[in-house]
Amino acid sequence: MTARNVSFTLNGKPATLAVEPRQTLADAVRQHLGLTGTHLGCEHGVCGACTVLLDGDAIRGCLMLAVQAEGLSITTIEGASPPEGLSVIQDAMQRHHALQCGFCSPGMVLALESLFAHTPCPGEDDIREAISGNLCRCTGYQPIVAAALSVAEKNRANLGAAAPSA
């Protein structure tokens, strides 16, 4: 099958790629743009390593075809990280030792970005639900949850919100 052009917003900037219909979004950003922060673990929807944001919501990059992104807005881990230093979630994960090999981390960060965008002060249950589709083989999840709880705590202090969760 011949390649076709697909245009979408990637990390806030317009992008046009020539892709085969069978190419997944995760493969396309890795191979055509060298954005290798989007990891591929299982390539069939089970592990969450390929998580990207579609209009702010976490989705599986390996289960969306690149051609389907036409006109949509996609954010990869590169777009979710500031040019210098770490994002709030990345910083919390570093402080809580929430990664060892780091293979799952881009997916974890984006799953949490998606959660915090909707729910600034999530409780532990919300956090566990948000990362329930992301596998980590190293940490046992505990430090990842602790990192996310620390961000929620900070948000709560900043917002002056009394409620424990949304």
Binding site: R4, D27, G48, L54, I59, L65
Partner: protein, 286 residues
Amino acid sequence: MKPAPFDYEAPTTVADALKLLGSHEDARPIAGGQSLVPMLAFRLARPSLLVDLNRIPSLSGIEEKGGVLRIGAMTRQAKVLASDVVKRHAPLLVQALENVGHPPTRARGTIGGSCAHADPAAELPSAMIALDATMVIAGSGGERRVRADDFFIGAFETALQPGEILVALELSKQQGVSAFLEVSARKGDFGIVTVAARVAVKDGRCIDAALVLGGIAERSVRCAEAERILKEQGATPKAIDAVLAALPLDAVTMDSRSASAAHRRRLIPELCRRAIEAALASQVTP
């Protein structure tokens, strides 16, 4: 793990989608892709043409009209899960969806895609049967309607004919309270055994009941005898014991390394008891 080549079209109307599906022998619709793309990656599916339903606005949306809730087939599972109208009108659907996958799979996965896929361990088919939903199907000859109980035929098999599209689900207002419970390896996994329970009690009498088991056979199993006992004897503790004794345990055919048929049979009565009790205890009064 890479799909075999295929062609791709993204029509914007159901009529165009039907035309495209009719134009190729092995054309296939793609909805959320949460089951189909893995099948493509494993090359369990090798369509020549994918017809993307994601650009057809008329296939998405939730609308209540004249007491009937119509949910477009392409409505995302996450949208339905978060919908107040659905919560009021058909709480069992929300209760079932809480068990379907994870936030990222629900952000893309659709209501219609799950029904059309008809995985024997999927939650939505049982919920649709317990709610007596109507499946609205479009084909080259126009629209037809099929009751959920007749729609789900077997494992990955439905009343959909090649070239047809599931366009919507229609639900009357849910009668009674409900609960959806399951045993699965981890939260968000497909169920080893799932139970959809719905009980309508009025003036101390049980006027309607639905008890549907999933994950145990080629398709969801409606527990007709157990439902009859509930309706006859009411939802009393004694009646519930009789209900549990009348469950169709011989319908269990699923037998896998992770969950034997015997294990599933052991799980069913306790899960049913808890589901009926949770339904009766639920504060949701639709």
